[in-house]
Symmetry: D2
Subunit: 347 residues, 4 copies
């Protein structure tokens, strides 16, 4: 598709996240929101009032079968992702899919294959990857400021909206899985997870997930829909520096600490403590404050119009689904360690 084209966008799902997508796509210069589909006529009426020039429909096929539409954005419950995305790809549309990509690894793999076969952009909306803080973290790690990454430790808890179709891993830990894939460019080899549902008939509302990497890195995330306070905090330890990303701060979301330990090999000290501490400055770099969804939208259009590869493409989305699937299996077996690639049980 040649640059300069005004892409026509159809958005499916106008529930919790849909209005944010419509607002952002409406403000992008290189595309136009042509149509919105939702099963709920009340929601469509709301959309119509805010965006009088956009066409609405309760039938998603009105969008998928419309040859003038170039892009389908899917913001529906996860159980419908595979079917809708596959239909859109088969109709030769570019696809923006909410996270998590699909319910199963097998489905995710089919979508990746289909998109590749047709040369279409398949983008998964892992929004956090596009925040200024995560982008800056990636930059610092990539240029070696942290030294070797040793661990990643995340806490995402709050008195949350209990989901009824997905568990807390799919809802919250998914953010860490995508950030990790972006920051480390490595795939974990095994996972051990524990979790519970405190209310019968509902999905797990609290979980602890540990990811193991061949490089020796360990990653952990605590997620909880039943906490009295909201926390969104990530620690990353490196051999040279360490950093903390607190997403709830209004400013200075990212802090980099020139702190660490060093070991002596002095044989005379072999029976004593051989660890030295280094406590230096702390530095909070200014980060890009553009709304992440805006940055992500521009990047998505670059992928379609300029042939770039999405930072959160189907491949990354697939890897995230692999981790969710393995973590959920482990959690349902009281922490049994699960190998990720082929989903075998290790122990």
């Amino acid at each position: 598709m040649k640059a300069g084209t005004m892409l026509q966008v159809g958005i499916v799902g106008y529930g919790y996240w849909g209005p944010n997508l419509v607002r952002n796509f409406a403000e992008l210069a290189r595309c136009r929101v042509a149509a919105i589909a939702d099963l709920d006529e009340g929601k469509l009426a709301l959309a119509q009032r805010r965006f009088p020039s956009v066409r609405t429909s309760t039938d998603v096929n009105d969008l998928i079968n419309d040859p003038t539409i170039d892009v389908i954005v899917i913001a529906t419950p996860v159980r419908t992702h595979f079917k809708l995305a596959m239909a859109a790809l088969k109709a030769d549309k570019h696809v923006w899919l909410e996270k998590p990509m699909t319910e199963t690894v097998a489905e995710a793999r089919q979508l990746v294959d289909e998109a590749e076969r047709r040369g279409k952009t398949l983008h998964v909306d892992h929004t956090f990857v596009y925040t200024g803080a995560v982008q800056k973290m990636g930059e610092l790690i990539a240029r070696g400021d942290l030294g070797d990454v040793l661990y990643y430790d995340s806490v995402r808890v709050n008195l949350g909206l209990f989901q009824h179709d997905v568990n807390v891993i799919s809802d919250l830990a998914v953010h860490d899985f995508s950030i990790l894939a972006y920051l480390l460019n490595q795939h974990p080899v095994a996972v051990s997870a524990a979790g519970v549902n405190h209310f019968p008939g509902t999905p797990e509302n609290l979980a602890y997930i540990t990811l193991f990497y061949d490089s020796g890195i360990i990653a952990h995330t605590s997620v909880n829909w039943l906490a009295p306070v909201k926390v969104r905090q990530v620690l990353v330890g490196g051999s040279k520096k360490m950093m903390i990303y607190d997403d709830l701060q209004n400013s200075e979301k990212l802090k980099v600490y020139d702190k660490g330990v060093s070991f002596t090999d002095d044989p005379k000290q072999i029976h004593q403590m051989r660890v030295g501490y280094r406590t230096g400055d702390m530095w909070a770099p200014a980060t890009n404050e553009t709304e992440a969804l805006r940055t992500e939208g521009e990047h998505f259009l670059d992928c379609i119009l300029e042939g770039k590869t999405s930072l959160t493409d189907g491949q990354l989305g697939l890897k995230v689904v692999e981790i969710i699937e393995a973590a959920t299996a482990s959690m349902q077996n009281r922490g049994r360690t699960i190998q990720i690639k082929n989903l075998e049980i290790i122990s």
Copy 2:
């Protein structure tokens, strides 16, 4: 032993924690620090300067064999705990033992048996149990304010002193194990732990431990000697209320939240969200600000002089060692779930 007696105390070990013990025992009305033993003459000289009237010795047997000494306080490396405590008990002394009680469950069990056989007080110094905040937490749980306890979630991280004889579980998670034993009066049935040592030849410096209870309670603790900031925070979720204990706050260490969820059974809502949220007041009760070690010292003397049972007696200390042993075994097997009672591997 009849009330009114002035107990004679011998303290073994004048390293990191010993001076705090001497200072506190010196201030208690019902006892007197008679002697201090340490292998290091420099440390003894220091002790002598601060407490000119106390006898010092490099030979612990000078204390254990002294018939005028009633109590032996042991603040030495953990690998020496069993031998010293057993010798003291066999010499018919009451024993105060630093945490963790022993290196192995088997040793702990022998000490408990010996103390019981001889009718001596065997007390393990799990200091946190005696803080005003933990005491208040126990009170609130006991009188039902929280409803059913659902989870316990703790974070203890800092740029810590790397220990060379014990791992981070024995150093930091041990606090949670004793607090849990005190608060819940239940013993976990299984544990899954993950951890790493980032520096060859040193014990694990980072670990994540999940404890499973038959009642359905789940407990988790994150411990880390390699974090850029210090955190000491515990969340406890209950069916009625939730609480946060932040030990680093100068005031309002404990906050109780009147927050939670409630479920409807309305069949009409069966396909919708059935969860309601309750967001009420927060309350930070005043807590006893007496130094925990002082409170604990008085309690220890009550046990000896008035026949009370220590809140952190050998039985509790033994259970803590069981959890440490199981957690360490799980950690060394990448999270393999370990049953606690008989240390079998579940999966």
Copy 3:
């Protein structure tokens, strides 16, 4: 005007605050936004796009002279307030006026008189008075929980938008003046203020204002457009309890401390310290989280339709202008104390 009527609202000024006003009035059930006026056609185009059914005009007289319009909402620069509000009142409209009410006390007094003569509602938009936290503070003071109020101490600093027509007192301290009028139901008798403009040709960007009350209460506010961090914090000290209102907290904005001092009259202690401290619980009451502007809008309609008196009517707005005028005069004389009522210089 009888209840049930649908009031027709005309809004003048669609700059920084205007869009918030339009959005809120548009959502109120008992009124309808009929027209928007602004000198800037670009802004009107923006308004038109968001609210296609609203009439727009660059001439404010189109609204003031329209007999179908019942209410004029004025969100223009303060130097235009008097003229526009007076014209609206003379056209027998109810008036909602942004803060500060007018540039001078004399103007404010004329508006109050005109509104009274015509039986129209004259409401000044001191939004903070309608926040859940300030309402709760008012409730606690009114029912005597704090005992006698002893002091009010506020800090409002940030790296702010430098205003070019008003100083930092009119921009930030004005919030404290209205909150104080609401909470205390007293008028200060004197003011001493200090301030500077750090950049030639601009209004004062930093000021410290102390208000003196006949009851002995002292109130102080620090306001600053040139601070590296944002602070919005109010302390209120009472003889029984004290409270802190931190508007930047996401939750627990208001905290009530059961702390204080008590004095002994024991003659034996006359040469010693006679003050005792009381340190009790802290309590963060749940507060109404409705958007303040929504609460205020409903209250304004109650005033018009049900004859209520506005909590922030012209009388309160006038008192706030008196304080601004006196404080600015004091500031321009390096803290010279100014009596408020008749603006005489005391010293």
Copy 4:
């Protein structure tokens, strides 16, 4: 006095601060605590127990008249400072005097003259000047990192010990007066202060003080013994950078912000906002964590033994007393502006 000499120190007053002084002087290599005087025999007994080799006396003259004593350290109530310090100087001792130096400017001036006449070191214990954070602040200002200093804004509040002989200005604001003298190397020309005593017969427990400098700098401090929380926070605004010093933080006490405003002179923008904002990185430099009193003690010995001039000598102490005297006078006249040099009333 030649280097290498072991100075003999006599310490007068073993109340609140005295024990800290004894402990610190006892640890300095170049001096020896020879004697302690206090009127209270109980306190002397306490001192004797902790420091068995130190001579004690209830008569201060035993120290002042002892020819072997080189240094007199005075930590008694402020009303006794002048008499004791003058006696010590006349006995040819070097003097360390607690803050504030004296009750009156006249007394301070006499002490400065006497010390100069006799060539003795007269040092005032403004401890804060010797903290790592204040030293770092001084360094950053001196090397121009902040650009021109524009303002200094301090808050020191807590539920404090009500003093019965001095007001809250002498107790808390005194810290700011000494820090300002150290950082700015300028003397304020005028002061305006407001304050109250909420309890009859006690000194003022709450005060707001504004200092005016000829350079245009404005300094302000809020001090309060009746606040529900403890705050110790200083903001310093510069034309290039700004900084915050929070003394209650365990780490990162000092933060430097690369934030500010810049003005355009573009005539086309004359009717618009001409201010631009710069929001860059934040940086928390590592600061010296040595106990301030230790640093100060070494510096004091350098002054005596190496002829250095104390950073907080009698001249600085005198200037602080001038500000206290003027601020107290202003406070007792409801903020009346007072010129500092000759204590005339300006307005």
